[in-house]
Structure formats: C-alpha cells, structure tokens
Amino acid sequence: MNDEPMTMLDSERDRIFGDWLAGHKGILFKVVHAYAFEHADRQDLFQEIVIQVWRSVDAFRGESSVPTWIYRVALNTAIAWTRKEDRHQRGKQPLAVVEGLLTTSSSDGRDPRVEWLYRQIANLKDVDRSVALLLLDGFSYKEIAAIVGVTESNVGVKINRIKSALAGKRAEEAES
C-alpha cells in the first residue's frame, strides 16, 4: 500500500515552504557555502537544510521574520551537520542524497571579494561563522543574540573579534 493520503496541513506546508524558498533561497546557499567545502558535502548539507526548513514550517509562529527563522534553522542544521562529519566518514550517511539537487552557478560577473569573504569565514569557529553570516546580512545585535542564544554584549565581543580578524587578514594580504 502507498502512504496515507496527504492532509490539508501537508499541502499548506508545501505551499508555505514554496513561498519561503522562492523568496529566501539565497540564505540557504550562503549557509551551505560557508559550512561545506566539497561539492558532495554541499549537496548533502543543502538537502539536510531544505528538509529541516520544510519540517520547521509547522513550528513557525510568526514571532520572528521569515528570513530570521530560515537563517536560524539553516545555521542550526549546518552546525549539527559539521558535528556529524565523522559519522559521514565512517559511511553512515543520515540521508540518501539526491544528486544534482544543488547546482553551482558560473562566477561570471560576480565580485571576487565574495569568495575571499567566504574563505575568511571558513577560518572562523562554528559559532563565530554563524555570527559573521548574520552580521554581513545586516541582522542587528539583538537579532543575532536571539538566533544564536547568547547575550547582546557577547555578540558585540564576538563581532569585534571577527572584524579584527577580517581587517588583519586584509592588511596582511595588502602588504604581501
């Protein structure tokens, strides 16, 4: 027998998810690019994030904006995913990855400094990486604190450290 028939809730969830994806797909791409570095890993992480965002539709109560919610789910999934890496290496794939789900766009016309930024973000610790992504996408200290679950003052300290690291790297590269 096939699965149970789809309920109204399922179709409603699919509709909401479709709207979210149409409007905020870029967030998922950014998180995937910042946390996974090989094509196969990016496919895996993208699929995992998509599924978690889709599952999270039911839990969304509108207390935060949709981009904030999607960022929150995507970052949580990405950080959990990086901790699963050793399991992946032992051949225990949690998901059957659908090949070709994520495509890589041509870099024509793209500012090369975007890749530079990603390289610098990749050198940060997991939590600082999340803070950096949110900072660059214009989230306030308060929003970042709520998403990550730390105090605003702690966010301030982390951001100062990230800024110093980026400025230091920029200066170092300018000298050489």
Partner: protein
C-alpha cells in the same frame, strides 16, 4: 575596507548567487522525506499496538480456556487472577512506554529555537538515550514484560492441570530467568558500548559548542 564595504560585497551575491537548486529534485527529496517520516511514525505506532494487543490476546486466550474447561479440574481464584495480572502488566507496559516518550517530547518542546536551545535539546535527547545504558533503568523497563512472561508460564501450567507444587514448574521459570538475564545483559552491554562510542563523544562536542557560545 570597513564593515559597510564588506556588507555591500556580501550583498552583491544576491544578484548573482553562487548556487542554484533543481526544483524537481527538491520536491522529490521532500516527498521521500515525507514518506519516510510517515512510515516511521506508523511503524512505531503499530509496534506498540501489536505487542500490547498480542500480550492481551494471549492472556485473554488463557483466561477463556480457564473459564471453559473441558474437564472437571478445579481452578481457584488465583488461576483466574494470573492472566488478568498478565494482561494488566501488558497494558501498563504500553502505557509506560507512551508516557515516557510523551514526557521526553514535552521536555524537548520546552526548549526554544536559538542555537543554544537546539544544543540543549540535543543534549536532552542524548541523555534520554543514555538512560537505557543504566542497569537500574533497564531492569525497571524489563519488569512489566517479566510479569507478563511469568503469567504466561503459570497460566500455561495451570491449563495443563498441573499444580504449582509440581517441581517441574521450576524448569520453565528458570529458563525464563536465564533468557531475560541474557537479553537484558546483552542489551545493557550494547547500550553501554553505544554510549561510550557514540553518545559520549557527541555529548562532549555539544558541550564544547556551548562553551564556545559562552566564550567572549
């Protein structure tokens, strides 16, 4: 280059994203996930129903045989009480599993959605899994099935018109005790191994992440 410049560079990728997604494959992945979720929920539900129904049906069968004896054996009130106690233990077991899972679900839902809450939720899940590696918890979990098994042995014994004073009764009881001890022992060993090899390292990584969150 100041932060404003960096943000402008960052935003430039919105017009020219690094990646794209195949919508057809995306839908396929979601349908697959949906089917997997439904199958998992259905399997868990039916397993509980199946085992409880099986136990209760078995006890009802024994009771029916006792109520409609085909000979003139005298059955006492204790003989009738045995399958009733067994069935009650089976129902209680199913109920205990449900309550335990429900309490854990409520506990997990009590966390929010921030990264810190997610980490704490995962720690709660790991702690829940780890309880199965404690011998006292495992024995507590096995207690009601032991009562059921004992009821089955005693009811079968009485249906075959054999008195409790018959020394032969010790054999199936001893067999059951050895069987349960082996099963519980093997499960305990397996769970301890799982905790040491998988859960504890995961827990340490989560705790390190919490420390990283709090670090200035």
């Amino acid at each position: 280059m100041n932060l404003e410049d960096l943000m402008e560079v960052w935003r430039s990728q919105d017009a020219s994203p690094l990646h794209g997604a195949n919508d057809t494959l995306l839908r396929l992945a979601l349908r697959r996930e949906e089917a997997k979720l439904r199958a998992q929920r259905r399997r868990e539900r039916w397993m509980t129903y199946f085992w409880s129904a099986g136990m209760v049906a078995g006890m009802a069968f024994f009771l029916a045989i006792m109520i409609y004896p085909d000979d003139d054996d005298v059955l006492t009130g204790w003989d009738y009480a045995i399958p009733i106690v067994g069935a009650a233990a089976a129902l209680l077991w199913a109920r205990a599993i449900y309550v335990r899972h429900r309490a854990q679900a409520v506990r997990e839902q009590s966390f929010g959605e921030s990264l810190r809450d997610q980490i704490n939720r995962q720690l709660a899940q790991l702690d829940y899994r780890a309880t199965r590696a404690r011998l006292a918890s495992l024995l507590g979990y096995a207690l009601l099935p032991i009562v059921c098994a004992m009821a089955i042995i005693l009811a079968s014994w009485r249906i075959n018109d054999r008195p409790f004073s018959d020394a032969g009764l010790l054999r199936p009881i001893l067999f059951m005790i050895v069987w349960i001890a082996l099963t519980v022992g093997a499960d305990f060993w397996w769970q301890r191994r799982l905790v040491q090899r998988d859960l504890l390292p995961r827990k340490r990584r989560l705790e390190a992440l919490l420390t990283e969150l709090d670090a200035p």
